[in-house]
Amino acid sequence: MNNILEAKNISKKFGEFQALSDVSIQIKKHSIFGLLGPNGAGKTTLLRIINQITMPDNGQVILDGKPLSPDDIRYIGYLPEERGLYKSMKVGEQALYLAQLKGLSYGEAKKRLNYWFDKFEIGDWWGKKVQELSKGMAQKIQFIVTVLHQPKLLIFDEPFSGFDPINANLIKDQILQLRAEGATVIFSTHRMESVEELCDHIALIHQSKKILDGNLNDIKRNHKTNTFEVGLSSTNSAHLKRQISSRFDVSLADFKSLEDDLKLNIQLGAGDTPNDLLAFLNTNAQINHFVEVIPTANDIFIQTVKNN
């Protein structure tokens, strides 16, 4: 089995509201899977179905080759978007309680908690009440509790919200390390730069339907338009622009540079290669900047959602 998780033809209705219709995803072992979509698209419902919080009307979830069973909760770590802690309970007691609910013994939970508290240098929070902690501090505890039972599937819904850049980075590094140690990560977020940075594979859900699914690089390849961003120096840039326009599709580009007279986005025609463009420009101007325009996850997200 290559897939840690397969959701097959999942549908879910809440009364008249269709939350998910016929959504299928496959998640490869040891990958980081980005589940994207606008607000209200159905991402959280799908995550809740995977966590057996909500039951699907139709469809099936397969975890590691077997249909999901109630005992599987110990293999999954879920950090929901709506997360909190018991305010008047002490940090340590609370972490122990939540760890035991995931099936760890008291002793094992305590040992692992000590390890994580040392790692995050928060050992002195153990006896504090949660209401004394800041939001970011509470988020750290929630993160620890999510990963403590060493689940093979980790599900993070907006994990970075509420963290300052330093702590967000700390959490990001931990996620990468957990992946390196063998875990698979599902990652639901609106922050496209973290998708760009972390995800191998994405699926995009819009109005209850999956509208895009695949390897992030493949998707980018499919969405690219053979456009290059160039910065040129020339004594007569107006003439140069006319010259290029006669040969290629050209639009003005906008990027920061020191001395370019002409900044253009140039799209290659069918049959042209980047080298053809370079050769053409080389004979007419000085080239300072030459980059292929690769669509960002953000562009793909906006474009795909708009087209649907």
Binding site: I53, T54, D71, P80, R83, G84, L85, L98, L101, V145
Partner: protein, 434 residues
């Protein structure tokens, strides 16, 4: 995986360690005992106060009726005229002046007056009235030539001995004992549901508003969490009740020993004593002890436990569902209303109808309806309810408990993940289908 014990433990400890819970646990008995002591003290002060009543009996026929007692001192002002008597009475700081004008026996009854600075207490006036009535009555009888000693010899006290067809003897005092037992059990359940039902509801709301709920139910089934909450809170409640009983006992003992306050001077005890002393005290006491033995104690205890637990669980699952449906306590009102009405109906039927007529139609019917049956049945049982009726009522209760838990669990499961909008009853019904 069964996490129920773990959840119960957490819920229990969370309640028991809560500061306001601890304060309530230890301050309430102190407060109650202090209040009782105060009432007892004031009552005794009141009783010790001696009232003087001046009597001006111009007819000279009633004086014998007024014999001073510990509480009331009659002071005769005979020989003065009315105005002097008023002044004297007032300057002597007497409670009031009773004036009987010099009239014939037949006419005097309409003309007797009581003068006082403040309006006199009703009980004093009626006791004076009955004294005078008795005296005048006797005098009239005498005048008619009736021998008073014969009349008093003819007086008869009747105490009807009660016995059912199986030959089990009961008595008025025994009925009173049953009444106390039933009422105490019903009242205890009523209070328990109100106090700890609310506690459960608040703790569900707290989980929702602190947003920990989704973290928890990704590990445990909502129904486990709900049941754990109900059991944990109930155990905390039992702990609190036990501490209350023990503390009240100790504090009352201390209060009556160190301060010499007689706490037994409360109304219930007086009623009890009244019921007993009504008739021949000695044989009645024996009957009472026999009564205590003849009460179906095992049945009572088993029924108490079963109906108490069943009734409490039925209501607490409703409280849990209400907590899950709303975001904050102010939104609970519309859903709490019907629950409280059911509870109060049970309470009223139990305390007014069932205590008065434990085997009447209304009492019987309400002892089958699941939401009123725990209280009504608990009150009826000491008066003798056939076992099959108890079992039938209990079966209805258990069945409706299961249905209610099922419905509550559905509402709970959906409700705990709903934030923001305040749901309507229509929404709740929709949730059942999710």
């Amino acid at each position: 995986m069964n996490h129920l014990p773990l959840i119960i433990k957490r819920e229990y400890l969370a309640k028991v360690k809560n500061k306001s819970f601890i304060l309530m646990t230890f301050l309430s008995p102190l407060f109650i005992v202090a209040l009782l002591s105060l009432i007892a003290y004031l009552t005794s002060v009141n009783n010790e106060k001696v009232r003087t009543i001046s009597v001006l009996d111009e007819s000279g026929i009633l004086s014998e009726a007024f014999i001073s007692s510990d509480q009331i001192l009659y002071e005769s002002l005979n020989g003065m005229d009315l105005e002097d008597a008023k002044t004297t009475s007032n300057s002597n700081k007497a409670y009031g002046l009773l004036h009987v004008p010099d009239l014939a026996l037949e006419d005097v009854s309409e003309k007797i007056k009581f003068y006082s600075k403040e309006s006199p207490s009703l009980s004093l006036i009626s006791s004076l009235e009955s004294k005078i009535e008795k005296r005048i009555g006797e005098l009239k009888l005498k005048k008619m030539g009736v021998d008073l000693s014969k009349i008093s010899a003819s007086k008869t006290y009747v105490n009807i001995n009660q016995e059912d067809f199986e030959g089990v003897k009961t008595s008025k005092a025994g009925s009173f004992l049953k009444l106390i037992f039933g009422a105490a059990a019903g009242y205890l359940l009523f209070m328990f549901i109100i106090i700890y039902g609310n506690l459960i509801m608040r703790s569900v709301i707290e989980e929702k508003s602190s947003r920990i709920i989704e973290v928890i139910i990704s590990s445990v089934k909502p129904i486990q969490l709900m049941l754990g909450k109900i059991f944990g809170t109930s155990l905390a409640g039992i702990t609190q009740f036990a501490i209350w009983v023990i503390l009240i006992a100790i504090l009352s003992f201390a209060a009556s020993n160190f301060f010499g306050i007689d706490l037994s001077a409360n109304p219930q005890q007086e009623m009890m004593t009244a019921a007993v002393s009504d008739v021949n005290a000695n044989s009645e006491l024996q009957a009472l002890i026999a009564e205590l033995h003849s009460l179906p104690l095992i049945n009572l205890i088993v029924a108490f436990v079963l109906f108490f637990v069943g009734g409490y669980l039925l209501y607490s699952s409703l409280y849990a569902a209400i907590g899950a449906a709303v975001d904050n306590e102010t939104d609970t009102q519309q859903f709490l209303m019907p629950v409280v009405i059911l509870l109060v109906v049970g309470f009223y039927v139990g305390f007014f109808t069932a205590l008065e007529d434990p085997h009447g139609t209304i009492s019987v019917v309400f002892s089958y309806i699941p939401f009123t049956s725990p209280i009504v049945m608990l009150i009826r049982i000491p008066f003798g309810v056939p076992i099959w009726e108890q079992i039938l009522s209990l079966s209805v209760l258990i069945f409706s408990f299961l249905v209610t838990v099922w419905i509550a669990a559905k509402i709970y499961r959906v409700g705990i993940l709903m934030h923001g909008k305040k749901p309507s009853y229509k929404d709740l019904i929709k949730w059942l289908k999710y």
